[in-house]
C-alpha cells in the first residue's frame, strides 16, 4: 500500500506541470484541477482517518459558504459541485448542495449543465423529493435544438425520474424516436425502456413504436430495443411469437458477419431461449472465438439455452462438450462457470457429472471458497440416499468455516432441505445420524435459519414414517440426545434449537423409561431460570412443562415454577403460569386436555365461535351495542367526519351510516370482507398445527379429544429410488478400472471420495469397483396419508399426497411425451424423474382421465414402477357415478347460459380428429369461457380432457361436466370454465391444451390460447347519484386525464354512449356538461368515473378502491375515444 501512495505523490507535481502551460481555457482548467487537486493531495498526505474527517469537514463548511453566497458565479458553482461529488463519494454528507446541483442543471451553459446533471444523478435517487424540481429543466432541454442538451436530458431521465411525472415528458420522448440522429433515437429507446420498468401501463400505447425501433437501420438502436423485448418476452412469452422471424434475421446477420462484431449477442440469445431455434443454435455453438470473454459468455448462454429448450440429442452432445471445455479449463473463472453450468444440467444428465467427477473432487478442496461453494451447490443437486452422508458432512465442514451470515442461512437451508423438507423422502440413513446432523445444523444455523426448518423438522418427528416402532425409536433418540445436550454445562444454544428441544421433550418424554417426567421438568426449569433464554423460548419451555405436568404425579418443581412465574413481569409468562396453576388443581381435566402423543391430530375448530352465542344474546338483551369489526368502525368514523364536505356534485346525502351505502347492484364491501376474514380465520386455524401449544378450544369449550387416529396406513407410496441409478456409463467404468491399477495412494483416497459422492449416479459396477457397495435401505419414508386424504379431513396431508401423486403421474406424463424422441435410454429415465410437481395441481387428483392415462403409461414402462399398490390412485368409485350425473347437468347448463350476452364462437385450433372452438359468455358474476370440442373422426374418443395452464392474473375454475369419459364419433362436447380476475391487466392470454385418447389408446394433445381483455371483466354498476357521491369520497386512488374527442362524438351524451356501449359503463346521471358513470370489475371492485367536457376535450377522472384499476380503465377509454 505504502509504495503506491508514494508513487501517487511523486507523480502529482508532474501532473500539475502538464496542465500548467497553455493559456485560455486550459488555464481555467488548471485552476479547477488545482483546487480539487489540493483537496485530493491533502487527503492523500494525511495518515489517519480522523484527520481526513477534519479536513473534509473544513472543506465542506467552506463549500457551504461558497455555494450559498449570492456572488458565486455559475462557473465557480460547477467547480464546487465537483468537489462536493468527491466529498460525497468519500462518504460524507453533502446534502446542502443538492438543491444547488439542480439549480446548476437549470441555469448553466453546456459544461455547467453537464456537471449539474451529473451531480444530480449521483446525489439523488428515484424517490427523492427534490427531483420534482428537475422535471421542468428536463422538459426544457428535451425541446432544445442542441443535440448535447437533448442527450443529457435523456440520460438523466433514464437514470432517475419520478414515476408520477412520466406523463409530462412521455410525448417529448416519443417524438425523439423519429429523430434523425441515431444517438438520440437510441437514448430515447432506453429511456422508454426505463419507463417500461417502473410504470409499464403508461407506455403500453407505444409498443408499436418499439417494433419500429427493432427494425431501425442503426445497429445501436436495434440493440437498445432488444432490452425492451427481452423484458416483455420474459413477462409474456406467447405474445411475441410473431417476432421470432425478426430475431432470427438479426441473429443471422450477426453470425454472418454483416453487423459489427462487437454487437451484443447475449441479449438476443436470451430472447431466443423462449423459442426453439435449433439450427441457429448449432451454428452459434460452432462459432470460433474472436473476443475471448465475449464469445465464451455467449457459449455459456447457448449451453443454458440448449438445456432449457426441447432437448435434442445432437445439441445436447455439443453442449456437453462445451461444458467439458469450461470445467477442464485452467482458468479459474471459466472453471467456476463450468461448475455453474453443470449445476444447471446435472438433473437432466448426471453422466456429465460422472465424467468430471475428479475435477469436482479437486474443486471441493479448492483454496477459493467461492469455487468450493459452487461445488457444494452442485453436490446438493445430486444428493441421493446413498451419498447423503458424505455430502452433508462436506457441507457441515464448510459451514463451520464460514462466518458470513448469508452463507450460513443458505447452506443450512440446503442441508435441511436434503434432510427434512424433501416431500417424498428424507435421505437420512439412520436415526442417530439424522438427529446428530440436525443438532449440528441447529446449533450452527441457530437463529438466522429459516423458520420453516424447525417447523418441518418437528412435523417430521410428529407425523413419522411408515413404521410405528421406527418412529418411536427416532423420537426416543431425539429425546435422549437433547437431554444429554442439556446436561452439558456452560453451553449456550441458539433460541430456535432450545424451542425445538422443549417441544420434543414436552411431547415425547413419556418414551423414556429411565428418567421420570419430573426430572425432565427439573431440567426445563433450570433453563427457564436462565437469563440468556429469550422470552419467546420461555413460553415454549413453559408449554412443555405444562404438557409434562399431568404425567409427573407430584412435582415440587412445578409448584415452584408456578410460584415463580405468577408474579413474573412478562404478561405472557404470567398467563401461562396461571393456566398451569388452575389446571394443576384439576388433574383429571388436565389429563384429558393434554393427552400423550396426540400432536398430529386435527381439532375441529369452531371459527365462528358459535358457543358464545348465548353469551352474546344475553349481552344484547341487556342493552349492549352489537359488535362491529374494526374496519367497519373505522369506515363509520370516516363517514361521520365527512359531514363537512366540499365535493363537487352538490348532492346531499345523509350520514346515516353503513347500511345506506349498499347499492342495488351489490357493492357489499363490508359484508364481503367480513365473510372473507371469517374464511381466512378458518384457514389459519387449520394450518396452525405444530405450534408448541395445543389448541384447547372447540365447540363444547375445552375439547376432550376423540379417538380417531387412523392407526393402519393403507399401503405406502412406492418410490423406486434404485431404478434411477441404472444409468450405466460403460466407458467410465472401464477407464476407472484401468486407473485403479496405477493410482497413487492419494489418488485412491480421492477416488474413494468420488465413489462415495457419485454413488447414486453411476452403475453398481462402478461402486463395487472401489469396494464400497453401500446398500442402505430406506427406513425413512413418509407414510402416505391416502386414507385421510380421501376423506378430505386435513389440508396439509392432502397436499402431501397430492405432491407425491403428481410427481408420479408427472413421470408418467413426461415419459409419454419423450418416448418417441429420445433414443438414449439412460437419458430418458433420468429426465422423467426431474420432478416437476407444479405441472399438475391438486385439482387434477380426482380426475378420472388422468388416472387412466397414468395406469396406461405404467404398463408401457414396467421397469420404472414396482406395480404394487397402484390402485391407491384410482379415484373413489363415487367420482365415476357423480361424473355421470354431472354430465346430464352440463347439458341443461348450456341452455341456461344462452340467456346471457355472448361472443360468437371462434375456431381456435384443430387437427384431423378434433376441432376446438370457443366463445365467451359475459355473465353477471363472472366470465364464462366455453370450449366446444367437436370430434370430426368416425371413432370414439376416450377421456378427452381439457387443461388450462395456471395464469398469474386470473383464477380459472372448472364448471361441472368437464371430464366425460367418452366422446362419441362426430359429436360435440363443451367444457365450461368460469374465469375470475385476480389482478387487473390490459390483455392476457389464457392457454391450455386438450388431451384425448383414441380407440387404439393412442393419445394426443392439442394446444390452444384465447385472448382475454380487461373489458371481459367489466360490468355496469347500477347505483344512484347519492351513492356515487358517497363512494367517490371513500376511494383513495384516482387518475385524471384529458382526452381529445373526435368530431363525431363532440357532445357529452354521445361520448358517454360510446363508453357505455364499448366499455359497459353505467351512466348514472348527466348534469350539464358533466357526467357520472360507474362500473365494477368482477367480482366486486367498483370504479367511478366523472367526465366533464370543454370544447372538444373530455376530462376523465377515475376513482376506485383498487390502485391499478383506474390506470387500466383510462387506457381503455383512451383507446375507445381516440379510436372511434
Amino acid at each position: 500500500m505504502s509504495d503506491i501512495v508514494e508513487k501517487t505523490l511523486t507523480a502529482l507535481p508532474g501532473l500539475f506541470l502538464q496542465n500548467q502551460p497553455g493559456g485560455g481555457p486550459a488555464a481555467a482548467k488548471a485552476s479547477f484541477s488545482s483546487r480539487l487537486g489540493s483537496l485530493v493531495r491533502g487527503i492523500t498526505a494525511l495518515t489517519s482517518k480522523h484527520e481526513e474527517e477534519k479536513l473534509i469537514q473544513q472543506e465542506l463548511s467552506s463549500l457551504k459558504a461558497t455555494v450559498s453566497a449570492p456572488t458565486t458565479t455559475l462557473k465557480m458553482m460547477k467547480e464546487c459541485m465537483v468537489r462536493l461529488i468527491y466529498c460525497e463519494m468519500l462518504g460524507y454528507d453533502a446534502s446542502f448542495g443538492y438543491i444547488h446541483a439542480i439549480k446548476l442543471a437549470q441555469q448553466g451553459n453546456l459544461l455547467e449543465k453537464r456537471v449539474g446533471y451529473l451531480a444530480v444523478s449521483l446525489f439523488l435517487h428515484e424517490s427523492h423529493e427534490l427531483l420534482l424540481l428537475l422535471v421542468n429543466t428536463v422538459v426544457k432541454d428535451l425541446q432544445s435544438t442542441n443535440l448535447v442538451e437533448v442527450c443529457m436530458a435523456l440520460t438523466v431521465v433514464s437514470q432517475i425520474f419520478p414515476r408520477e411525472m412520466i406523463p409530462a415528458v412521455l410525448p417529448l420522448i416519443e417524438d425523439k424516436l423519429q429523430h434523425s440522429k441515431e444517438i438520440i433515437r437510441r437514448k430515447a429507446v432506453l429511456a422508454l425502456y426505463k419507463f417500461h420498468l417502473i410504470a409499464p401501463n403508461q407506455v403500453q400505447h407505444i409498443h408499436i413504436k418499439f417494433r419500429k425501433a427493432l427494425c431501425d437501420r442503426d445497429v445501436g438502436v436495434m440493440a437498445a430495443s432488444l432490452h425492451i423485448y427481452l423484458r416483455m418476452i420474459k413477462e409474456n412469452s406467447s405474445g411475441y411469437k410473431d417476432l421470432t422471424g425478426s430475431f432470427v434475421t438479426i441473429l443471422k446477420q450477426v453470425v454472418g458477419g454483416k453487423l459489427p462484431v462487437d454487437f451484443n449477442y447475449h441479449i438476443l440469445l436470451q430472447v431466443l431461449q423462449k423459442y426453439i431455434l435449433l439450427l441457429y443454435l448449432t451454428m452459434i455453438l460452432t462459432i470460433s472465438a474472436i473476443f475471448i470473454f465475449l464469445s465464451l459468455a455467449i457459449l455459456f448462454e447457448c449451453v443454458h439455452t440448449v438445456y432449457s429448450i426441447y432437448p435434442k440429442s445432437e445439441l445436447l452432445e455439443k453442449a456437453a462438450k462445451c461444458i467439458g471445455k469450461f470445467v477442464l479449463s485452467p482458468k479459474i473463472n471459466l472453471k467456476y462457470l463450468g461448475l455453474k453450468a453443470l449445476t444447471y444440467v446435472i438433473q437432466q444428465d448426471p453422466t456429465l457429472a460422472l465424467q468430471h467427477q475428479m475435477t469436482i473432487i479437486e474443486c471441493l478442496d479448492h483454496p477459493d471458497p467461492i469455487i468450493k461453494r459452487e461445488t457444494l451447490e452442485l453436490l446438493y443437486r445430486i444428493t441421493n440416499a446413498q451419498n447423503v452422508t458424505v455430502i452433508v458432512q462436506k457441507m457441515l465442514e464448510y459451514l463451520h468455516q464460514s462466518k458470513e451470515e448469508y452463507v450460513i442461512v443458505n447452506l443450512v437451508g440446503k442441508i435441511a432441505d436434503v434432510l427434512v423438507l424433501n416431500t417424498v423422502d428424507t435421505y437420512a440413513p439412520d436415526n442417530a445420524w439424522f438427529i446428530q446432523t440436525m443438532n449440528a445444523v441447529f446449533s450452527v444455523g441457530g437463529d438466522v435459519m429459516h423458520p420453516d426448518i424447525p417447523n418441518n423438522f418437528l412435523r417430521l418427528l410428529a407425523e413419522g414414517f411408515d413404521d410405528e416402532t421406527e418412529d418411536q425409536q427416532l423420537r426416543l433418540y431425539a429425546v435422549q440426545s437433547y437431554l444429554t445436550l442439556l446436561d452439558m454445562e456452560n453451553v449456550i444454544y441458539p433460541q430456535r434449537f432450545l424451542q425445538v428441544m422443549s417441544w420434543v421433550l414436552g411431547e415425547y418424554s413419556y418414551l423414556l423409561d429411565k428418567e421420570t417426567p419430573a426430572e425432565v421438568i427439573a431440567k426445563l426449569y433450570r433453563l427457564l431460570m436462565n437469563d440468556s433464554v429469550s422470552s419467546e423460548t420461555k413460553t415454549w419451555l413453559i408449554a412443555a412443562v405444562t404438557k409434562l405436568t399431568p404425567q409427573a404425579h407430584s412435582s415440587d418443581t412445578v409448584e415452584r415454577l408456578i410460584h415463580e412465574f405468577t408474579i413474573s413481569l412478562d404478561t405472557c409468562m404470567r398467563q401461562h403460569a396461571f393456566e398451569l396453576k388452575h389446571l394443576h388443581e384439576n388433574v383429571e381435566l388436565m389429563k384429558s386436555l393434554l393427552p400423550v402423543d396426540r400432536s398430529c391430530e386435527d381439532l375441529a375448530v369452531d371459527a365462528s365461535l358459535s358457543f358464545l352465542d348465548g353469551f352474546v344474546a344475553e349481552g344484547l338483551s341487556q342493552g349492549a351495542a352489537p359488535y362491529k369489526p374494526h374496519h367497519q368502525r373505522q369506515e363509520e368514523k370516516l363517514s361521520q367526519e365527512k359531514v363537512l364536505n366540499f365535493e363537487p356534485y352538490g348532492l346531499s346525502f345523509s350520514s346515516s351510516g353503513f347500511t345506506g351505502r349498499q347499492s342495488p347492484a351489490g357493492i357489499s364491501l363490508g359484508s364481503d370482507i367480513s365473510g372473507n376474514s371469517a374464511e381466512t380465520g378458518l384457514k389459519e386455524t387449520n394450518s396452525l398445527k405444530l405450534e408448541g401449544i395445543k389448541k384447547l378450544w372447540g365447540k363444547e369449550g375445552y375439547l376432550p379429544k376423540k379417538e380417531s387416529k387412523t392407526g393402519d396406513e393403507s399401503g405406502a407410496l412406492p418410490i423406486p429410488q434404485e431404478s434411477i441409478m441404472e444409468n450405466v456409463d460403460q466407458a467410465i467404468t472401464k477407464k476407472d478400472q484401468s486407473q485403479v491399477l496405477t493410482q497413487s495412494k492419494e489418488e485412491k483416497e480421492k477416488q474413494l471420495l468420488a465413489s462415495s459422492l457419485f454413488v447414486g449416479l453411476g452403475s453398481e459396477s462402478t461402486v463395487n469397483l472401489l469396494g464400497k457397495a453401500d446398500t442402505v435401505s430406506h427406513k425413512f419414508r413418509r407414510k402416505s396419508k391416502v386414507k385421510e386424504a380421501k376423506s378430505g379431513e386435513t389440508t396439509s396431508t392432502h397436499n402431501m399426497t397430492c405432491s407425491s401423486f403428481s410427481s408420479l403421474s408427472n413421470v408418467a406424463y413426461e415419459d409419454d411425451y419423450y418416448l418417441n424422441t429420445l433414443h438414449d435410454r439412460g437419458d430418458k429415465e433420468l429426465k422423467t424423474f426431474s420432478l416437476n410437481s407444479e405441472l399438475l395441481d391438486s385439482e387434477s387428483l380426482t380426475e378420472l382421465p388422468l388416472v387412466e392415462k397414468f395406469s396406461n403409461c405404467s404398463l408401457s414402462t414396467p421397469s420404472l414402477f414396482a406395480d404394487n399398490s397402484m390402485e391407491i390412485f384410482h379415484p373413489p368409485k363415487s367420482t365415476a357415478a357423480s361424473v355421470a350425473k354431472e354430465s346430464s347437468l352440463a347439458s341443461s347448463f348450456l341452455e341456461e347460459t344462452t340467456e346471457y350476452i355472448h361472443s360468437n364462437a371462434m375456431e381456435i385450433c384443430n387437427n384431423e380428429t378434433i376441432s376446438v372452438s370457443s366463445y365467451k359468455i359475459w355473465k353477471d358474476d363472472c366470465l364464462l369461457m366455453v370450449w366446444s370440442v367437436t370430434n370430426k373422426s368416425g371413432l370414439e374418443l376416450k377421456s378427452a380432457n381439457l387443461e388450462i395452464f395456471p395464469a398469474e392474473n386470473f383464477k380459472v375454475t372448472e364448471q361441472p361436466g368437464c371430464c366425460l369419459p367418452v366422446t362419441e364419433a362426430e359429436s360435440t362436447r363443451s367444457f365450461q370454465y368460469s374465469v375470475q380476475i385476480e389482478k387487473p391487466f390490459t390483455e392476457e392470454i389464457l392457454s391450455g391444451f386438450i388431451s384425448y385418447h383414441m380407440m387404439d389408446t393412442h393419445s394426443a394433445q392439442l394446444e390452444f390460447s384465447v385472448n382475454l381483455s380487461l373489458l371481459d371483466f367489466i360490468r355496469p354498476l347500477k347505483i344512484s347519484s347519492e351513492d356515487f357521491g358517497k363512494l367517490w369520497l371513500s376511494f383513495a386512488n384516482d387518475v385524471k386525464q384529458n382526452v381529445k374527442m373526435s368530431e363525431s362524438q363532440a357532445a357529452l351524451p354521445s361520448a358517454l354512449k360510446t363508453l357505455q356501449q364499448k366499455l359497459r359503463l353505467h351512466i348514472i346521471e348527466i348534469i350539464g356538461n358533466e357526467g357520472l358513470l360507474a362500473c365494477q370489475l368482477l367480482p366486486s371492485i367498483p370504479c367511478l368515473l366523472h367526465c366533464r367536457v370543454y370544447a372538444d376535450v373530455l376530462a376523465l377522472w377515475f376513482r376506485s378502491s383498487c390502485s391499478t384499476l383506474p390506470d387500466y380503465l383510462l387506457y381503455q377509454c383512451q383507446k375507445v375515444m381516440e379510436g372511434s
Binding site: Y86, L110, L118, T155, Q159, G220, F300, D368, I370
Partner: protein, 155 residues
C-alpha cells in the same frame, strides 16, 4: 447494480443504478471493499455476496467491481468492465489512476455514455468515443468565446 473503483480502501468512482439509501450505500461499499480486498490474486473474479453476485477485476492498483443479479451472465459483466477500461484508456491515452482521480467527472461521462440506467447503451467503442468527443467539442465551442470575453472584461 453499482460500479466502483476501489484502490486499497479508497473509493474512486461509484455509480448506483438502484435506489438505495445513503446509509445502506455506505454499508455496502464498506463491506464490499473488505470482501474484495481479502481476495487473493489467483482466485476467481466472481463472488457471491448477499443475494447478489459481484464481478471484479483488478487493473494495476484499481479494482473495478460490479454487482449483478443472480441470472445475469458473469462473463458478459467481466467483458463490460474490460470494455469500460478500454474506453478510458482510449480517451485518456493509456489511462492511469491519477487520470481517474483528477478527471473523475469525465470518467462518469464516459460511463453514462456506455451504460444507461444499468443497461448497455452502446457496445461499439467507436460510437461511444465519438459521442464523448462531440459533447466535449460542443462544450469547448460553447466555452471558449465566453472565456475570451471574461478575460477582456477582466482586462
Amino acid at each position: 447494480m453499482s460500479l466502483g473503483n476501489i484502490r486499497q480502501g479508497k473509493l474512486r468512482l461509484q455509480k448506483w443504478y438502484l435506489a438505495t439509501s445513503d446509509k445502506e450505500r455506505k454499508k455496502m461499499v464498506r463491506e464490499l471493499m473488505q470482501v474484495v480486498l481479502a481476495r487473493k490474486p489467483k482466485m476467481c473474479s466472481f463472488l457471491e455476496w448477499r443475494d447478489l453476485k459481484v464481478v471484479y477485476k483488478r487493473y494495476a492498483s484499481l479494482y473495478f467491481c460490479c454487482a449483478i443479479e443472480g441470472q445475469d451472465n458473469e462473463l458478459i459483466t467481466l467483458e463490460l468492465i474490460h470494455r469500460y477500461v478500454e474506453l478510458l484508456d482510449k480517451y485518456f491515452g493509456s489511462v492511469c489512476e491519477l487520470d481517474i482521480i483528477f478527471n473523475f467527472e469525465k470518467a462518469y461521462f464516459i460511463l453514462d455514455e456506455f451504460l444507461m440506467g444499468g443497461d448497455v447503451q452502446d457496445t461499439s467503442k467507436k460510437s461511444v468515443l465519438k459521442a464523448i468527443e462531440q459533447a466535449d467539442l460542443l462544450q469547448e465551442e460553447d466555452e471558449s468565446p465566453r472565456s475570451v470575453l471574461e478575460e477582456m472584461g477582466l482586462a
